[in-house]
Symmetry: C2
Subunit: 308 residues, 2 copies
């Protein structure tokens, strides 16, 4: 039987690591457990940004130029919406709408999100398991100097400008991990934490008690990829947010954040790293498919080392 691997992931950066692993591992040996704390309703439609980014990335449909959404996207819906007085701070592409409309219809019919995402992945012939972290509602809220903001208001509407004081995950304490999530963590040969924002994109998963407990008790090594490159984040507000929280923007902080959960950390070639856990170094900037595969090989190698 093939080795089995699980990745905990958030948005764009995480999707790249999952894509790298998916490219080099045998089919159906990978499970991605995806943050749904960013999910929200917009125009009445249920949007799952991190899941959709992952599906688009793996299916080769992601928009390389934008860094989000679909390749070859058109925007007639938004233009028509605007002409009717609709809000336009969150862009929904014409093709992208299909995921949201289909998801909305299925949720209304009572199907759990995990079942819907499994159908989407199957329709696009993806040979891995994509799981939302939970079928329950968990909502990320950001406490800022401008007040408490729903995640998308902070991230998209306000472009991460407000200063972050704390992050909350409403509903996480009571949330049940989606079917398959706990088994994937417990039965994998290694669990990876993608280079997504630890505070915004990975913490929602860790805030679900059963997921944290599984990570604490699994025999599999837990290996993270640091989102930092030379003291900066590749994309998104990680470094800015760390500063605002009064944290040093270093891999020591990343390792300390995950604490006892972590057995190993993959860091960028030139960056310093803590000595308290196993470390691997590679160029962690993932632009091309080769980059993604290189980082994937680094996490797999470090996992193998940690299993010895």
């Amino acid at each position: 039987m093939n080795a089995r691997f699980t990745v905990l992931t958030g948005g764009v950066g995480g999707a790249k690591l999952v894509d790298g692993l998916y490219r080099i591992l045998p089919h159906n040996s990978l499970t991605a457990i995806v943050n749904t704390g960013d999910d929200f309703r917009h125009f009445g439609l249920p949007i799952s940004p991190d899941i959709d980014t992952l599906l688009y990335t793996l299916a080769g449909k992601s928009n390389q130029a934008l860094g989000w959404g679909r390749e070859g996207e058109t925007w007639n819906f938004m233009a028509a919406l605007k002409s009717l007085g609709g809000e336009d701070w969150f862009n929904l592409g014409d093709g992208d709408l299909a995921l949201h409309v289909m998801r909305g219809m299925a949720l209304t019919a009572g199907e759990p999100l995990s079942g819907i995402i499994a159908r989407f992945a199957e329709a696009w012939d993806l040979q891995l398991t994509v799981l939302p972290m939970t079928d329950d509602a968990v909502a990320t809220w950001v406490e800022t100097d401008e007040g408490l903001l729903p995640f998308q208001q902070y991230f998209v509407k306000r472009q991460c400008a407000p200063k972050v004081q704390a992050v909350r995950f409403e509903g996480a304490e009571a949330a049940v991990a989606a079917p398959g999530v706990i088994a994937a963590i417990m039965e994998s040969d290694a669990v990876f934490v993608a280079p997504s924002n630890p505070w915004l994109s990975v913490d929602p998963l860790l805030a679900i008690p059963s997921i944290r407990e599984a990570l604490e008790s699994t025999n599999a090594p837990v290996i993270a990829v640091s989102p930092l490159i030379e003291g900066k984040a590749v994309k998104g507000p990680t470094a800015k947010l760390m500063n605002e929280l009064g944290l040093e923007v270093t891999n020591h902080t990343i390792a300390a954040h995950y604490g006892e959960l972590l057995d190993g950390l993959v860091v960028h070639s030139k960056d310093e790293a803590p000595q308290s856990l196993a470390i691997a170094r590679t160029d962690t900037l993932m632009k091309s498919a080769e980059d993604r595969e290189r980082v994937a090989r680094a996490v797999l190698a470090l996992a193998k080392e940690c299993r010895k």
Copy 2:
């Protein structure tokens, strides 16, 4: 004070007459009361085909080539939906989706359809009143040789192929006319019945008791435009349906169908007409804007004659 006019209307043909009247009458002297028996949910979104056709037509956004939907439409949503295994028998254009998504959001928030349509008309700067016949759910069902079909299954999915035995309007008996509908009929200087399919598109309005009673008791002359031209329908299944119901495809049948409600009938130049009511003749084929205005002038003139 300007004279006021009201039109009862269904889909494409009806929208052309309303457009003709709108072009030649002073602003804000026209009320269109629109069939909602064709309304249905598709992919969870509330679709109002006849209302939307009218809005697109009046706003100059209608697709002349297709005969339905929006000008300059794109179809990325449908393509993406199909890739996810979604049904594709009813096409929703990318721009068109904006109306359905905005309507769905507002209905969910508890706003009545009439309020939503008024906002849409205002957003597009339309200087007339567009009213759904009712804010209640009324659904047209077609009894056919293939069984009982919801309207859109008969009309779009089966392309009117099944033979019609009867037409039913579920919910009509209990439906309340939308706010403004009864006042428009009672207080107009004339009421027009557009050249829409009498059995499928106008009968839903007449099946609402308060609308029928208002038409029976208003002092305004009620003038219909026949949907027949030389014994045929311009578009759609009117003639086929009349045959299937065992009716002669003539203006006598049209006049008899509306019966006592009607004071006058505008028929095509060359067609025979009953002598039991006031008749006007013109070329009723509406291709250009000039055609629409010509037919509008004919109904206005016949109304004036009937008021003498």
